[in-house]
Amino acid sequence: MENSLDPAPCLLEARGISKSFGAVRALQEVDFTLRPGEIHALLGENGAGKSTLIKVITGVFPRDAGVVRLGGEEVAPRSAKAALQAGIATVYQEVNLLPNLSVAQNLFLDRQPMRFGIVREGEMRRRAKALLTEFGLDIDVAAPLGNYSVAVQHVTAIARAVDLSARVLILDEPTASLDRHEVEILFGIMRQLAKRGIGIVFVSHFLDQVYEISDCITVLRNGRLVGERETASLPRLELIRMMLGRELAETTSARAAVGEHKVREICASFENYGKAGYVAPFNLELRRGEVVGLAGLLGSGRTETARLVFGAERADGGQARVEGASVRLQSPRDGVRHGFGYCPEERKTDGIVAELTVRENIVLALQAKRGLHRPLSRREQDEIARRYVKMLDIRPPDAERPVGLLSGGNQQKVLLARWLATSPRLLVLDEPTRGIDVGAHAEIIRLIRELCDDGLALLVISSELDEIVTYSDRVVVLRDRAHVEELSGEAIDVTNILAAIAADGAAMQEARA
């Protein structure tokens, strides 16, 4: 294809798109350009703004600023349906069709061929059959869509979109639940559509697939555009750096504080610990007063490792030890009993109980640990809540406010307080700074260091590499659901982490050179 810098005719053009949710700026002045017949990968870590950008373009969210042009004309769809009518179709990871209706009915939903007010089933099936044959699919279109594999459902959704005369097709993580063969079929269809001049936006976190199928790549990070590059001329290491890193210079110096190498007491260790299809067996030692960072791309097995360590997921092999004694971690209760704490990534669904007060959320884990028959009196609860609201500077300092009304940063502090109140020996923090404003961000990082100095063992996951480099004593790098490298001491820097993530030999060499 032509160089992406050429003034090729634009199919879809978004300029200066901004979108905020309350105080959180999800998108800031993002540009995005899609040319006819192009397969364009949209990449970024969780929270980078990919979904928000798609939803703004397709009218699911109203935008705060910016313009979207389709074929040179400005469009402002108010809903996904309006976007579809304008010619922008989206197929989400979770196919949004109706599994209980037949394939044909799904294809012609809302536009069934009619005669005298009656749906012409035969005609509809014949046309459905013809349509799917174009996509190389020969199936019984009268059978319910739900009977077919996710791959067939995806192709059906794509066929429907294309038949609705879509000019732009947005595929949001289409391959996440497909096997290798199905991915091939999907890619075949994508190439065929691109030849017809349809522009395809491909959102995925499988970098191999991105390199296999896409013509060019746009990377977002923290709601900002990092850049648009031609795929063929973008080395993988450079791409990962675009997705994860900040300016490398500013991070290398920040590590001065960490790094005295005294041998620390092991507080928990895991040997050959793993679960088939979840995360490959790993060895991990967690020591008092030490922060271990988990680095890797989205889907590399970071959260999975955290859940295994805490007991939220059962391992199917290996050995866990706490203070040298062998233990079984079958449930979060076991984890809590052994003095572990876990702040999950999804604060709202897995962390806070929104309608309960700050006080109740803080004492929850401690109370669960003490058991039913040893309730904390109201006075003890007030005392604990007051202590942590003050210590972590939770705002507003009102322990009787429902925690759902607090900002993200303060909710995160409430979760930290919940675990600190249990006097844990190990804290597992999954993306503790995600979706938090800048001030609270720095505070949480400071807290992580302080807790560590107090003798706690910490296991911290973050997509922000400079952040991990700042507070970690050791960094475990994950790729494809396996622990691939452990860095410690001087070796911890963004370049080395990136090299381990990118992992193909050439990229390593390049990084070290």
Binding site: Y342, D350, V353, L356, A368, K369, G371
Partner: protein
């Protein structure tokens, strides 16, 4: 003004006062009390007495609903336990009768809890099974007849009095205090509210959410059993077809009137019982007024609507409605 009055419960107390006032208008003797044969009589006592089964059911139901569940089987459990009590009453002593009936309620609760907490079935479907099957079981126990009994001990449970207070009222009050002591005196209340508010998060915080869910269904079964025994004692017999019929709906209604959300979380035992009393006060009032009982259903629907409107977050509660009535925005 919201600072002076308790936020929670205001709507319910207001509703009860209004209904009581209306009752006083339609029946001037409504608040009259008299003592006869060592037992108090009067419309107000009648309201409390008749309201006992639903009040007992709502005590269990409110905990189930707080965990984001629902128990449709309580009416059928009443029928089962009433049938067991009536069948055993004339051949066994009261302790055996009570133990058998309450034990049956406990088993029913365990069954429901097992389906919901262990097998992960949706509560509405899981308890529908026992709602349907339970009446059949009760009919098997009574062999399709209305079983009557004369055991004075059991009759006393329905019609006797302690210090002038009818026994059912004393039992309901006792159960309210007991449940309150267990739930709020231990950490159970907090953990139930956390489980209902966000089960995933609670599980990750180390709360034994399954045990919580199992426990509330068991308690709901025991409460239903007690209600069933009282209902049987009241009529000195067990009617497997009609005992507790549709009372599960009244119990759910009482809980909802009491301000506990069907989406789980925060709950109030006292307000749930107050909800049961509101329902019964209306029922009695309509009977006393001489209107045909058919009106009951319509009036009930309107009162429920009014109470729910007062609680609606869209109208931001009582203050919102006052502002709305005055024609200003809250």
């Amino acid at each position: 003004m919201t600072a002076l009055l308790p936020r929670r419960g205001l709507a319910q107390i207001l509703a009860l006062v209004v209904i009581l006032a209306v009752d006083r208008v339609v029946s001037p003797q409504f608040f009259d009390l008299r003592l006869q044969d060592g037992r108090l009589f009067g419309s107000i006592i009648d309201v409390l007495n008749r309201g006992t089964p639903v009040a007992l059911l709502s005590l269990g139901m409110v905990l189930v609903i707080a965990t984001r569940g629902i128990d449709l089987s309580v009416g059928a459990v009443m029928a089962i336990c009433g049938a067991i009590a009536a069948s055993l009453a004339d051949s066994h002593g009261l302790p055996v009768v009570l133990a058998a009936a309450l034990g049956a309620g406990l088993v029913c609760g365990l069954w429901n809890g097992f389906l919901v907490a262990v097998l992960g079935m949706q509560p509405i479907v899981a308890t529908l099974i026992l709602m349907v099957a339970g009446r059949g079981i009760a009919q098997l126990i009574t062999e399709g007849r209305i079983v009557t009994f004369t055991s004075p001990d059991l009759v006393w449970l329905g019609n006797g009095a302690i210090l002038g207070v009818p026994v059912p009222i004393a039992i309901a009050l006792g159960m309210l205090l007991l449940t309150g002591a267990v739930v709020r005196g231990s950490a159970l209340g907090l953990l139930i509210e956390a489980t209902g508010g966000n089960a995933r998060a609670s599980e990750l915080a180390g709360v034994g959410t399954r045990a919580m869910i199992l426990a509330v269904y068991v308690w709901c079964g025991v409460c239903a059993a007690l209600a069933g025994v009282i209902a049987a004692a009241d009529i000195m017999g067990a009617d497997a077809n009609n005992a507790g019929l549709w009372l599960e709906l009244d119990a759910i209604l009482a809980v909802v009137i009491g301000g506990t959300s069907l989406f789980g979380g925060r709950f109030s035992l006292v307000l749930a019982v107050l909800g049961a009393l509101i329902i019964q006060t209306m029922n009695t009032g309509i009977l006393l007024s001489g209107y045909p009982p058919e009106f009951n259903l319509l009036v009930k629907a309107m009162v429920v609507l009014a109470v729910l409107l007062l609680q609606s977050p869209k109208l931001s509660g009582f203050a919102g409605i006052m502002a709305w009535l005055r024609g200003t925005k809250p």
